[in-house]
Structures are given as structure tokens and as C-alpha cells.
Symmetry: C2
Subunit: 261 residues, 2 copies
């Protein structure tokens, strides 16, 4: 399995429009953060987690040519508004794109992109989504995908655990303030944790570094990557200060697991 | 008055995801086309026409720091999905952003971005739109804005004529298959025409070069810029072939009118 970080930023991306802070003016590519999303490839199946506003730019940057499904964490704009760009992955094959999310999340997508769901427009170039409401673990190819409900302020968002051949390869939790004991149990023993770590300062709906490091201390994954980073965080300054095995993710970073043997 | 082309491309942008044509592989910056939009500045007021998927990238590229209003041509995704990015222009001033469009267009925005309109969320960082349904000419500062209903396949879209000091400076019509005699009368005598000209090949909902050139022949504006260009059109090849006074627009192009005297 291979994972590519399409974006590692907050809802407004970095640089932030109109912001003159040192990170927003930084020329370090690792300080350029599009909205949080990952692209996962396995030998038999490829999918994206969330289609935020930067989805087209992310596909072009990473030369993404193939997509079998899209899965969604929650219906906030920074995870949804690139939804229509999915059409490029169905135009030539005239097939439907499976989209996985909670019934509540799919309802928001259906409200926002009503023309794609109403069955009236079957023009070849238009997006044809196939809603797949999630109620528990499901499979994408040979990967078991376990939804991880986590608290994100007043709302629940879904993190995802990806398991292959019985090995918990990766948990991806981009938007969380707290991770429930139940979710912690599900991901215990995970090889790689990718987790919301907005900044140092506390925030009402996101974990800060201190809170995320507490999760790392309890789970002790082999490696941890912080994501959904705000412009308070300069990569070159903050990454070296993190404990061993914990790093800041950045756009374009690729992770690989040797899980085919 | 000054106009900046934020984007000059079709609904999928150029390069197109997964397309290997010569234009999508071109390294000429004039062949990179984000979704169609323009930013207009006058001494007293600044606005954008449409907030498509690339709105954040366009604001960053052009270093847009100030926006007094957004006006919309029609509720297709390539003109709307960047709507939430408008929040960066109200966050520091705690004011509402006037948004102008037909009642039908505003209804789609309200359905898609319901959280911004429902009056429940007044968190400082969130978008606070102020819907302004259009039923005829209106004013943005000292500019008179005349809606130009035009046919775009089965739907009507709104082009806009911008008049200052009695001079018809510019008509912007990015999505049209035909321009009605009534709209032609409104824009007769315009200095600058910016008009949909998708490609050479005919299309059911957009004017091709031949159709757009027929409009130019009738109106005889001082200058004409073709926009909403598909990847069939390579700038360096096609621009020199156009008649005098007619050119292909490109992202970042700025037009100025000396209308303050």
C-alpha cells in the first residue's frame, strides 16, 4: 500500500489569503499546504480520502490518473467542495464513482451537488456518483476500512483505519478534538498514525501538539505524521523539535508499506 | 477601472486531469487556464465575477486583498464552488459580503452553502454573505452594472455590462450559446467585449470562434477578448490567427480603462 499526502493544511490552506505571517510568506515547499486529503493506492484498488477545494490541483500535482472510489471524513467545506472534479475519473469509462461516507455526510453531498445525484443528467462528461452509506467496516479491494468516529467540536467526524492481511497499516484522523476510548481500541497496534495536530495553541475543535502527542504516547505507533497544520507551524522550525518517530506531514509526502509478502 | 482575468478556462480547467493533449502538456503560461472569472477594481469599489473552484489560488496569484462584493453569472459548479473562500474577505472586518445574482442562482448558493446563510453560525472566521437578488441594473460604487441575460444551452446565464460616467466600458459574457437581440442592443457601443469562445468545433451550449466572431462583426467593439477556452486552443498557435482587435484572453491579463477624467 502507498499513501500520498495531497494536502496537509487547514480549511483555508496555506498560504492564507491576506496573511503576511512568516509561514504564509515562506518559500519552503513544505510550508505550502493545500486542504487535507490523502490518496491511497494498493495493487488492486485506489481511493482518495476527501475531495476538498484543491482536489484538481492535487490530482495534477501528483499526476493521479486512476481512482476507484472516494471516501469522506465529514461534510465540512474543506473536505467536499472539489467533489465535482471527480467527474474526470468517470468520463472515459462511463461508470459510476462509489462514494463512501456517513448517511449524514452523503446527504450534504446530495444537497450540494444535487444535479449529479438526481438521475436526470447522464451526459457522458458529468459526474455519476454511487452513494455507499457506511455503517461499519467495509472493503476497498483487499483492504479493510474501519470507520473511526471521533469528536470534532460539536460534530462527529470519521477517521479511517486501513488494514491489509490482518495488519493495521495506517489510521488517518485529520479532524478531531478527542479520540474516544472505543476508537483508541480499534487503532491500538497500528503501524502508522496520521493525526490532526493543528498548532501549539489550544483550539475548540482540533487537537494541538500537546493533545496529539498524548495520543501518540498511549498508542506508540511505529511512526506518526501530524497533519491539518495551521500557519502557526513552520516546517523547518517545528519538525526537528518533535519526538523520535513523530514528524510533520507535508504535501506530496509518500508513505509505503511492504504488505504484499 | 481595471480588470484582471482570474481564469479563462472551461469547467475542468486546463490542464485537464488525465489529458495528454499538446495544450494540456504545454509549458506556455498562457495555456494554463483556471476556471473563468474576472476581478474588477475601481477607485471606490472592487468585485469579483464568479467564485469558481480556483478562487483561492486566483486570489493568491493576483494578491487580491480587498473585495467589496461578488457577482454571479449562473449556478454551474465551475462558477460557484469557491464561494466559501470569500470568508477571508470578511474575517477581519466582521462585515457581510454582498453577493449579487438572479434569485435562482442565489437559491443554489443557499442550498449548497446552507451553513453560511442560516444565521446560526456567527463565528468570526465564517463567511457571512448578504444576498442581493438582481432584477435589473444595479450599482457597485459608481459603476452601473447591467445584467445581460443570454442563452447557455437550455439555461439562461447572466453576462454583465459595466458602465462608468455614461461610457460602456466592458461587457463580460463567459457562458453563452446565443446573445439575444435585446442583449445585443444593451451592449451596442461597448468599448471592450469579453466573450465565450470555447473552440473551433461547434458545441451545444457555448459559442465557437465562428459564432463569437459573428457577434464581434455586428458589435464592432474597440477590443475583444475570447475567454472560457478549451484545450483545443493553443494560445501561441491560435491568437495570431484572429482578426485585428480580437485576442485570446489568458490568466493574469489586465485591462485598464482611463475613465476617471
Amino acid at each position: 500500500m502507498q499513501l500520498t499526502f495531497l494536502g496537509t493544511g487547514t480549511s483555508v490552506g496555506i498560504p492564507v489569503i491576506g496573511c503576511d505571517c512568516a509561514v504564509c510568506r515562506s518559500t519552503d515547499p513544505k510550508d505550502k499546504r493545500l486542504r487535507s486529503s490523502v490518496y491511497i493506492q494498493t495493487p488492486e484498488f485506489a481511493w482518495v480520502v476527501d475531495t476538498g477545494p484543491d482536489f484538481r490541483a492535487q490530482c495534477l500535482r501528483e499526476n493521479i490518473r486512476h481512482l476507484d472510489a472516494a471516501i469522506f471524513t465529514h461534510p465540512h467545506m474543506d473536505h467536499l467542495t472539489g467533489f465535482d472534479e471527480l467527474r474526470r475519473f468517470t468520463v472515459d469509462v462511463d461508470q459510476f464513482m462509489p462514494i463512501y461516507g456517513t448517511p449524514e455526510c452523503l446527504a450534504v453531498l446530495e444537497r450540494m451537488f444535487e444535479y449529479a445525484f438526481n438521475g436526470e443528467n447522464r451526459y457522458r462528461g458529468y459526474l455519476k456518483p454511487f452513494p455507499k452509506p457506511i455503517h461499519g467496516p467495509f472493503h476497498l479491494g483487499e483492504t479493510t476500512v474501519t470507520p473511526l468516529p471521533v469528536q470534532h467540536g460539536k460534530v462527529v467526524t470519521i477517521g479511517y483505519l486501513f488494514t491489509r492481511g490482518g495488519r493495521k497499516l495506517c489510521a488517518y484522523i485529520p479532524d478531531a478534538k478527542t479520540i474516544s476510548p472505543e476508537a483508541m481500541e480499534l487503532i491500538r497496534g497500528v503501524d502508522t498514525l496520521i493525526v490532526d495536530a493543528l498548532r501549539h495553541t489550544p483550539h475548540p475543535t482540533h487537537m494541538n501538539f500537546e493533545e496529539s502527542l498524548a495520543v501518540v504516547s498511549e498508542l506508540k505507533p511505529r511512526q506518526t505524521w501530524f497533519t491539518h497544520l495551521q500557519c502557526e507551524i513552520m516546517h523547518a522550525v517545528e519538525d526537528p523539535k518533535l519526538p523520535p518517530g513523530v514528524n510533520l506531514a507535508f504535501d506530496g509526502l509518500q508513505l509505503r508499506w511492504n504488505d504484499e509478502g
